[in-house]
Amino acid sequence: MKRLALALGVVLALAAPSLAVNPDEVLGDAALEARARAISADLRCLVCQNQSIDDSDADLARDLRIIVRERLVAGDSDTQVKQYLVDRYGEFVLLNPVMGPHTVLLWLAAPVMLAIGIIAVWMAARRRRRAEPVAEMPPTAAELEALRDLEDSGR
């Protein structure tokens, strides 16, 4: 029963599902273990195919999981634990890439594209409106209702 209680690992909100943590690795302190799981989900198993060390049953992943827990027990913060592994294994170990000069394009690509899209749509709309303004009189509620009925009748 003691072993069972010890082994009870609970995944907290939005943590990735996992397979590979073995009962003997789990820390006694539930809060520390939860932090270890969250950190593990963000670290890549270097010899696997796009798996976090939390998901992988490879030996290396097991070693890394144990290192993470050792560092946490030694009192490191989450950032310090990750930095410890980056120092040894390189940035490749981080599944969530850091923001830096070499990743600025990666992080900014989506927002910049969205901004360009919004500006393009807005400019196209303005150009069109200037060329041919839509009739100023808005349809009445009854007209809109009739339109919707017409659409449902299959036109």
Partner: protein, 666 residues
């Protein structure tokens, strides 16, 4: 087998010859079609016959390979490398596409099947458009049949023929392999028809609402199958890979997800074009992009750039040739687009607040989401190639970027179907959706009252899921005038609604359901990792899991250690679960087969780990609340696609018969 030997020898070589012939005919057809598409329908008639002939020839080639696999004819090198006579018949046959060469052959088979379908169902099309579309399909067939023949030929032989094969990768020996690749490929390759229509529009310079109607069934068909293929792949990974995850943001998954996102955008923009004759250039652009992403997906998976369970070992020349095809097809398409897009005239006008406006917003967000996934997938490859620096872009990155683009999309989604074309009234729509919004808020608060309150993104996700689902129901209720007219009239209206209205509501409802499943299972999944001996009991989320013991057994081509567990549900119901550890005889490869028990929408997932030192066995148990909603939502979306596809007036395509059927129906 003695007489069969000669017969098979013949049929493998005949199959090879059929593929060569298909390649030759496709090449000639592409040239003839592109040169003579204006020539008064004669080219179209020839190309129709050619398309059907190409299909028959590739089908014969495929059948030859399939027969060699089914009869374990290991003189076919492909069968020797990827099959074993002890495998059940189903896995011997599905093994045909469980490898690089065979999956390319399947790709080509579906490509020519699509071409033949265009030829068969395209009688309503203008002859010159039909000729152009078929010519471009033939061009694609020539490229990929050529690729199959010259760099990844499935017909290579071995002499003397080995007595036994090397076995199919055990992970692939599953019903999933029978369904996932064909569904996915029908989706991928189906978009080639949309692509061909887009190129035909650019070449001929003619594009209008009728074009959108002709393309619509192909977009719907491809999108539906891609939805099913991705959902099937996700569920397969969930139960087979054994760690209970259902989406990993793996580059290969992203490769199938990008065409889906772009295809979803295409589905919506084609709607604007069909009804309002607007967004033409953008729709053509999306049609090109969607198929380009399908090709990119094929390239990423088949080139060996990525390593995953999907990438069967293949030599680098394959990758280079696919890259060349990719560059020519995509580059050519965009060059044509740049040169000719100006000749396509813009259509109907509309105010910013309108159905068109909402659909543009939909497209903007879906396109951004596609771009985000594309950048995230390719960035590490490019950075490594250019600077030699290795970084990882994994699930945490995609969840953040993709999630923050999807959230606003889910917020605006319910408004779309309520808005009128051309000019809508946002205040009136908001009033009509107030009840749905109130219900969504109430449901979210109710769930949290029952589950306990925590500070996280979970309530936001739940609210969005409920909002989208209730918004879709509100759309149906509003169209039926529920509570505004008497109930009988409402029901009559409800069932008299066009199937497209139903399809829209069901697809959007399905998306809401999937979002709820994703949020619920991420938030409340519980895991138990423990060492158990026979007689031990584990407790998880109110379920008791009793370990009875392990039994050894022999399968057809594997040996198995099956754990026997008794699961006692909170309501007292008992079930037996048998998770297995298998060793496949031919390859010596171990696999785990999880046991999954479904309770309502939730599942208990059991996985048998390694035997421990003290005679116990490592057992991993998860309770995954509402996880089946994810795939149920996807199935609803696919069902909506089929429903819309079955709508005769749209399937027929040509505007003239549509009017007749309306008149008949009214």
């Amino acid at each position: 087998m003695a007489t069969g030997g000669l017969g098979q020898l013949m049929s493998i070589e005949l199959g090879h010859f059929a593929l060569i012939l298909a390649f030759a005919i496709a090449t000639v057809s592409a040239v003839v079609g592109l040169a003579l598409w204006r020539a008064n329908g004669r080219a179209a008639a020839y190309l129709q016959q050619s398309a059907i002939l190409q299909f028959l020839l590739v089908a014969a080639a495929f059948a030859a390979v399939a027969q060699a696999f089914a009869t374990s004819d290991f003189s076919l090198a492909l069968a020797f490398n990827h099959s074993h006579s002890a495998q059940p018949l189903l896995f011997r046959i599905t093994g045909v596409w469980g490898n690089h060469e065979g999956s390319i052959l399947l790709w080509v088979l579906i490509l020519v099947a699509m071409g033949a379908a265009v030829a068969a169902f395209g009688r309503n099309l203008p002859r010159d458009l039909l000729a152009l579309v078929l010519a471009i399909q033939s061009l694609l067939t020539a490229a990929f049949a050529g690729f199959a023949l010259f760099t990844s030929n499935p017909f290579a032989r071995l002499a003397p023929a080995p007595f036994e094969g090397r076995d199919l990768n055990p992970i692939l020996q599953d019903i999933g392999l029978a369904l996932h690749p064909p569904l996915l490929y029908i989706g991928y390759v189906g978009f080639s028809v949309c692509f061909s229509f887009a190129i035909a529009a650019l070449i001929s310079g003619r594009i209008d609402a009728a074009w959108a109607r002709w393309v619509r069934p192909w977009t719907l068909l491809s999108w539906t199958f891609l939805t099913l293929g991705i959902a099937m792949g996700s569920y397969w990974a969930y139960y087979e890979l054994g760690w209970g995850g259902w989406w990993f943001w793996d580059p290969v998954e992203n490769a199938s997800f990008m065409p889906w996102l772009a295809g979803t955008a295409l589905l919506h923009s084609a709607l604007v074009m069909e009804k309002r004759n607007a967004l033409k250039i953008w729709t053509v652009f999306l049609a090109i992009i969607t198929f380009s992403l399908s090709l990119l997906g094929t390239f990423l998976v088949r080139s060996g750039i990525l390593t995953s369970v999907h990438t069967f070992a293949s030599d680098p020349t394959c990758g280079l040739v696919i890259l060349a095809i990719l560059a020519i097809v995509i580059g050519g398409a965009f060059l044509l687009f740049a040169l000719r897009a100006g000749s396509l005239r813009a259509g109907g006008l509309f105010a910013p607040v309108s159905r068109e406006g909402a659909l543009i917003l939909n497209n903007l967000l879906l396109a951004t989401a596609t771009a985000a996934v594309l950048v995230g997938t390719l960035y590490p490859l490019l950075l490594d190639a250019l600077t030699g620096r290795s970084i990882s872009v994994g699930a945490p990155f995609f969840e953040l970027t993709f999630g923050s683009i999807m959230a606003p999309l889910l917020v605006i989604l319910p408004f779309g179907p309520f808005l009128a074309w051309k000019r809508g009234d946002l205040v009136a729509v908001a009033q009509r959706l107030a009840l749905a919004a109130g219900l969504a808020l109430f449901a979210t608060i109710l769930v949290f009252a029952l589950r306990g309150v925590g500070i996280s993104l979970v309530p936001v996700g739940l609210l969005l899921g409920f909002w989208v689902a209730f918004g879709a129901l509100a759309d149906l209720a509003d169209r039926a005038k529920l509570l505004r007219v008497d109930l009988a009239t409402s029901f009559r209206r409800l069932f008299g609604l066009p199937r497209t209205a139903w399809a829209t509501a069901i697809a959007h409802f399905g998306l809401g359901v999937a979002v709820l499943g994703i949020v619920a299972t991420s938030a409340w999944e519980v895991e138990l990792v423990t060492t158990m001996k026979p007689g031990d009991i584990g407790r998880i989320s109110g379920y008791s899991v009793l370990f009875d013991g392990i039994a050894h057994s022999e399968g057809p081509n594997f040996t198995s250690d099956a754990g026997r567990f008794t699961i006692i549900a909170p309501n007292g119901e008992t079930r037996i679960a048998l998770p297995e550890r298998r060793i496949y005889a031919a390859s010596g490869m171990p696999t785990t087969e999880a046991a999954i028990e479904t309770y309502g929408f939730s599942q208990v997932y059991l996985q048998l780990g390694e035997p421990g030192a003290d005679g116990g066995t490592v057992v991993r148990v998860w309770h995954k609340p509402f996880i089946t909603l994810i795939w149920l939502g996807a199935l609803l979306m696919a069902f909506a696609g089929l429903l819309s596809l079955s709508y005769r007036r749209l399937r027929v395509g040509a505007p003239q018969p549509a009017r007749h059927s309306t008149a008949a129906a009214e």
